[in-house]
Amino acid sequence: AADESSDDGDLMIRQVVGGEHEPNDEHHHFRLFKRRFGKSYASEEEHNYRFSVFKANMRRASRHQKLDPSAVHGVTQFSDLTPAEFRRNHLGLKGSLRLPSDANKAPILPTKD
């Protein structure tokens, strides 16, 4: 389910979700992922760990695809991050937030005509 296009010299990755993958497919997808997003890892141990996370994220993307069929889910630049790493490094809204009770409320606007 993966495809490379080099029409303009730019590497494209098609979706890899929705099917059962052979181990070689997973290696192939991981290679494409690393090339596309310029990923490299400091050690073989780290590489192997990131590959295991990548595989877990492919399974997760597949689950998301079933739960969210009108979108396309698959490989992104975050595919080698665990959900916790993703939350820690790429989100950033305070989890325990509450808006102040005295926050200004926007006036109600007319929405007809």
Partner: protein, 260 residues
């Protein structure tokens, strides 16, 4: 209200930015809303500084009910003293704190108090929060006139978007880690808000093959670069506060500021 609306078509949305490995989404959401408001006030689109917020904004991001309890005892007295904290930078969760997170409303409060935001080029983004505040008030280019919270009503959100410009919104980002394109409309999604983004428009319908109907959607600008999603943008369906997207919506108005 128009059936479709997109502030990108009106020049109010700066190019997609990238927060890098830093939990500073709240600052990008805030500058995005300010950029739109400034555009409406002046007709000019200026890219504004997130790094100013990351370095300088330590506003209280929650109305803290945390109690510090001290127990003391001595020969004559013993007892418990409690007091509330406001913004203690050493207290996790009480303030906007750079790469460790923040809240758009408190960033707007900071912007109002500080006098405004500098240009991106005058205070560029570094993706870290280890620097000191280098705010230069003489280089402020956009200032807040006022800001407010929009009610949890999708028509009101749309009306405020069209009237006042792009809106700072919070969302649950669990489906965004794997999102590539299309209209996201998950059957179930937590409403626990963990990401700050910018609402820039809406569409009346996009084909949802499983549900066999056209679904209206919001258009959201993210801060993970152009290689993520649809050139950096995300579409999420409207109608039932999916992933909490309607829960925390802030609108801001800007005043024109001439930098010296």
């Amino acid at each position: 209200l128009p059936t479709d609306f997109d502030w990108r078509d009106h020049g109010a949305v700066a190019p997609v930015k990238n927060q890098g490995s830093c939990g500073s989404c709240w600052s990008f959401s805030t500058t995005g809303a300010m950029e739109g408001a400034h555009f409406l006030a002046t007709g000019k689109l200026e890219s504004l500084s997130e790094q100013q917020l990351v370095d300088c904004d330590h506003e209280v991001s929650v109305e803290s009910d945390d109690l510090i309890v001290m127990v003391f005892s001595c020969k004559k007295f013993s007892g418990i003293v409690g007091f509330r904290i406001k913004c203690d930078p050493d207290e996790p969760g009480s303030c906007d704190s750079g790469c460790n997170g923040g809240l758009m409303n408190s960033a707007l409060e900071y912007t109002l108090k500080a006098g405004g935001l500098m240009r991106e080029q005058d205070y560029p983004y570094t993706g870290t929060d280890r620097g000191t505040c280098k705010f230069d008030k003489t280089k402020v280019v956009a200032s807040v006139a006022n800001f407010s919270v929009v009610s949890l009503d999708e028509d009101q959100i749309a009306a405020n978007l069209v009237k006042n410009g792009p809106l700072a919104v919070a969302i649950n980002a669990v489906f965004m880690q794997t999102y590539v394109g299309g209209v996201s409309c998950p059957y179930i999604c937590s409403k626990r808000l963990d990401h700050g983004v910018l609402l820039v428009g809406y569409g009346s319908g996009a084909y949802a093959p499983i549900r066999l109907k056209e679904k209206p959607y919001w258009i959201i600008k993210n801060s993970w670069g152009e290689t993520w999603g649809e050139n950096g943008f995300y579409k999420i369906c409207r109608g039932r506060n999916i992933c909490g997207v309607d829960s925390m919506v802030s609108t801001v108005a800007a005043v024109h500021t001439t930098s010296q």
